[in-house]
């Protein structure tokens, strides 16, 4: 092929954005159509530079908006290319219409979503509002907690998305700034090992197959729409999880790094558990270890795969705990919170009678500190000891002013 390979050290110091850009280079993306938005911009800038410097054989399409960016990705994917882009927040909001097109058309695009709050008020910092906004859009969603995982999950995302039994687009989430702009040691794959893991792109129903003309993006009404949506949902419910597990297993063989659909930390004998996503998982793990030194059997459950939601896996992970905290980093705006609801749904018909409480935290990049989590674990232990939730079911952590609690 007509591009140069790059020699990487075994461990490079990369932030999450550069790690994702390197993964896009190593996957040899054919087309990136992108529009810049903080904090995701360096990912597509990175790809563009690799392309300009001759490290990728591909095409960078500059467009006028995120709606156009995803539309360009859809066209390129339908034509039969390996396609990726990146965005955040308002950009994802503008893209949201086309996200449903991509998944309904079964196009294996990979979107690096660097999580950021949604205006108003305008805010460039990290929370999970954008991730939550498109959770029903039919995309697979992975969640990275640090730059290493942002790098690794890109390879896994392409491998799963492009599988002909799957053919669904995938989002790789990472926390804005906390992951995207925080440089850490990232263990690398060689260019050959990375590309071999993802494999040659295998087109399916591609428009450039001129001997088999296809019309993409057709219209259906009440006679067909339901069957298409049902098929897509069925594939997400049945096909995708085993493929993700297989990709995790194969990636572990290649790299030694083990990923799980639900990431359990000290859950074997845990009485109290925090369920959360993003960088908060790592903070919670540190605090859980501290709490164990104080006699509280604390554990952490991190969501690695948000869509399809690991309904069975989460019920299994939480089956023996006495009190659970669901941490939502997005304002539910009039509901109990996504993780609270999903966990409640997963546990409701089981024998697990754990006490579940929800917490809203970290909006607009507000820190979730270890002190917050220490208090939270103590509250969970108090719930477990009392045999009932001693607080209201939904509380806000880290917001100024009189305490906010509901339900």
């Amino acid at each position: 092929m007509a591009f140069d390979k790059m020699e990487l050290r075994d461990i490079e110091v990369w932030d999450g954005n550069f790690a994702a850009a390197q993964a896009l280079r190593q996957c040899q993306i054919d087309v990136v159509a992108a529009y810049p938005i903080t904090p995701s911009t360096p990912i597509v800038e990175g790809y563009a530079k690799f392309l300009a410097d001759g490290y990728v054989e591909g095409e960078f399409v500059m467009v006028e908006s995120e709606h156009a960016a995803m539309s360009g990705c859809i066209g390129a994917a339908a034509a039969g290319g390996r396609v990726a882009t990146a965005t955040s927040s308002q950009g994802l909001a503008l893209m949201s219409e086309t996200l449903y097109q991509a998944s309904g058309m079964r196009l294996p695009i990979v979107l690096n979503l660097v999580n950021r709050a949604l205006a108003a008020p305008l805010n460039v910092n990290g929370d999970h509002s954008d991730m939550y906004m498109v959770r029903d859009s039919g995309w697979i969603q992975f969640d990275a907690y640090n730059p290493q995982e942002a790098y690794d999950l890109n390879f896994i995302a392409f491998k799963v998305a492009e599988d002909h039994d799957v053919r669904l687009p995938a989002i790789v989430n990472q926390d804005g700034f906390m992951t995207s702009h925080t440089a850490q040691g990232v263990k690398t794959l060689t260019d050959d090992a990375a590309y071999n893991f993802v494999g040659e792109f295998k087109p399916m129903n591609d428009m450039l197959d001129l001997d088999h003309p296809v019309t993409h993006g057709v219209q259906t009404e009440e006679d067909w729409h339901f069957e298409h949506k049902a098929r897509q949902h069925r594939d997400l419910m049945v096909t995708v999880m085993p493929k993700i597990q297989a990709a995790f297993d194969e990636f572990e063989k290649l790299s030694g790094r083990k990923y799980n659909i639900v990431e359990e930390y000290d859950m074997d004998d845990a009485d109290v558990a925090v369920v959360c996503m993003g960088t908060s998982v790592e903070t919670a793990r540190e605090v859980a270890t501290e709490m164990r030194a104080q006699g509280i059997k604390a554990g952490v459950v991190g969501i690695r795969v948000l869509r399809p939601f690991p309904f069975m896996e989460i019920a299994e992970a939480l089956k023996d705990v006495k009190a659970i905290a669901a941490l939502d980093r997005s304002s539910p705006n009039g509901a109990a919170g996504m993780l609270f609801n999903e966990i409640a749904g997963a546990l409701f018909n089981t024998d697990t009678k754990a006490l579940l409480s929800g917490y809203v935290y970290g909006l607009g990049g507000r820190d979730l500190t270890k002190a917050h989590l220490r208090d939270l674990y103590k509250e969970l232990q108090a719930n477990a000891d009392a045999g009932k939730v001693t607080t209201q079911l939904q509380q806000f952590i880290g917001v100024r002013g009189p305490k906010l609690a509901f339900l």
Binding site: M105, R106, P213, H216, D223, E227, H228, Q232, R234
Partner: protein, 131 residues
Amino acid sequence: MANKGWDEFEIGAMLRSFNGPVSDVALTHQEDRDYSENNSFTASVADWRIEKPVFNKDYCIDCQFCWIYCPDISIISRDKKMVGVDMDHCKGCGICVEVCPTNPKSLLMYSEQTDEEEALAAWPSKETGEK
């Protein structure tokens, strides 16, 4: 196509135009192409039409203007000779009549119910410009 279950079709919002592979499509007349049932060629949209074009070959000079301008590829022409109108796909827009350069015109719009024989029998004569 109708009444298939969710597990009985190819994934994606995608339809195939032809049954099996094709080659030289551009050089094959529509009626000789192996269109699939999903292709619009097999579907009639004649009922969209309120007025229809009637073709009078007596005045046609085979200039092909109507063939070029028709937005629905509904003018049938073979070897650069105007044959007629594809009445399954014509939507009655009247552009062919508008662009027809002959005097009198070789295509005129009539209400959908008009009998074609009667229309041809009562075709207007050449305009002299001496109004």
